[in-house]
């Protein structure tokens, strides 16, 4: 059962992040998990891995399409465009920085009928952190309080870490000390939009990384289940067949 080198490394990263890996039995568990998926390759709606748009290329012929360009990008490679972006992250304008400094999270109590107005700002922020960006946009249309809320840069930084755990090469990923002048809302927007497009984005490697990460999410539950059960009676001697991703730098 072959895997791309980069995909294997990404899968390890994801599984380590999502469910934790017991390296002593990793290969056996992985083999068993993927094998069960392979035994039902045509049961797309009954448990098989959903590959998304790239599945259209699984037919008899391959058709050249521009909107699949991102699929060939190494998820680990930092393109010159991305490196340039990391080196020149957007910063807030001075006047806006002063405003956001004094307002941790300013929420106007405009409408008494708006249920969001009754919630404390901290609770609203916790809810918004866990909501997808699309839902926040929809919620801001439905709620004047949310629409007028001035969310601080710290919120968007947290949301960046929450929504994009695959952004491990970001300069300030998981670090405490960050420049206060960074425009986190703009950074979130840039990376969110850049990682969504498969053809015109300047960050196509991030788009592919995000795509493969989502596929890994489908593998994780089964992996966790088999890792918990520790039943590998059918898997013998696969250690020699499978490449161990952490053995190579």
């Amino acid at each position: 059962m072959p895997l791309h080198d980069a995909c294997s490394k990404l899968l390890v990263k994801f599984l380590d992040y999502a469910v934790g890996i017991d390296r002593s039995i990793y290969l056996e568990v992985l083999y068993k998990s993927l094998r069960t998926f392979q035994l039902e390759p045509y049961k797309v709606n009954r448990g098989g891995i959903k590959f998304g748009r790239i599945a259209k290329q699984h037919g008899q012929f391959w058709y050249p399409t521009l909107d699949t360009k991102a699929f060939v990008y190494d998820p680990f490679f930092i393109t010159p465009a991305l490196k340039n972006y990391y080196d020149n992250l957007p910063v807030v304008e001075p006047c806006r920085a002063e405003t956001s400094e004094c307002k941790a999270c300013c929420i106007d109590a405009v409408s008494s009928r708006d249920p969001s107005a009754t919630l404390p700002a901290e609770l609203l922020m916790m809810i918004l952190i866990h909501l997808p960006a699309k839902s926040i946009a929809a919620l801001s249309l439905a709620s004047v309080v949310i629409a007028r809320a001035q969310l601080p840069g710290g919120f968007w930084r947290q949301k960046l870490q929450h929504d994009m755990p695959w952004l491990w090469d970001f300069p300030y990923h998981r670090t405490e000390r960050v420049p206060r002048s960074l425009d986190w809302l703009q950074i979130y927007k840039d990376i969110y939009v850049g990682s969504k497009s498969y053809d015109k984005s300047p960050f196509l490697n991030l788009a592919n990384r995000r795509r493969v990460w989502r596929i890994c999410e489908q593998i994780a539950p089964r992996f966790a289940e088999y890792q918990e059960s520790r039943d590998f009676s059918e898997e013998r001697d696969i250690r020699e067949l499978l490449w161990q991703p952490w053995n190579e730098s």
Partner: protein
């Protein structure tokens, strides 16, 4: 990698990192892309300085040397799924060769992904190893399908012996 084919068998020699590949395992179970594609540019041991440029790396060139499809037999015996993923080869009953190039895939069409130098190199190698009859059909198909490249090498001897 598979060994040389028997007179009625099909052999697909794949990239060395994709070992133990069976006919049904041509897609990576993690990313969903085919193994016959040099999926990632400038990954791992590759020369990162060539990323995004129109220049193949040494690894690209090694990969090109390793890829070939050897086939002898009738069309029905062809493992359709595997072959058509790379190159659609039609052998009709009269043993005249009709080769239809449908194997282009976004990686090769994307100048960022592989670069046209690689495409030209594949094309050159293919055409060099082709019998004239096949080459004639091949160029027609390439023209009709507007395909820039086919990423397999046909063994001249094997095809002649079919």
């Amino acid at each position: 990698m598979l060994s040389s084919p028997s007179p009625t068998s099909f052999a697909l020699v794949v990239h060395a990192s994709a070992v133990n590949m069976s006919q049904n395992d041509i897609y990576c179970p993690v990313c969903g892309a085919a193994f016959s594609i040099p999926l990632f540019k400038a990954s791992g041991s590759r020369d990162e300085s060539s990323a995004g440029h129109d220049r193949p790396t040494d690894e690209d060139m090694r990969w090109l040397k390793d890829i070939r499809i050897l086939y002898q037999g009738t069309y029905r015996q062809l493992p359709r799924r595997s072959v058509t993923s790379m190159l659609n080869i039609n052998f009709d009953e009269e043993k005249t060769y009709r080769l239809h190039a449908e194997c282009t895939y976004p990686p090769l069409l994307s100048p960022i992904a592989m670069g046209s130098t690689v495409q030209r190199e594949i094309f050159r190698r293919m055409t060099l190893t082709m019998p004239n009859q096949i080459f004639s059909e091949f160029t027609k198909c390439m023209y009709n399908s507007r395909s820039a490249v086919a990423r397999v090498l046909i063994s001249r001897d094997q095809i002649r012996g079919a």
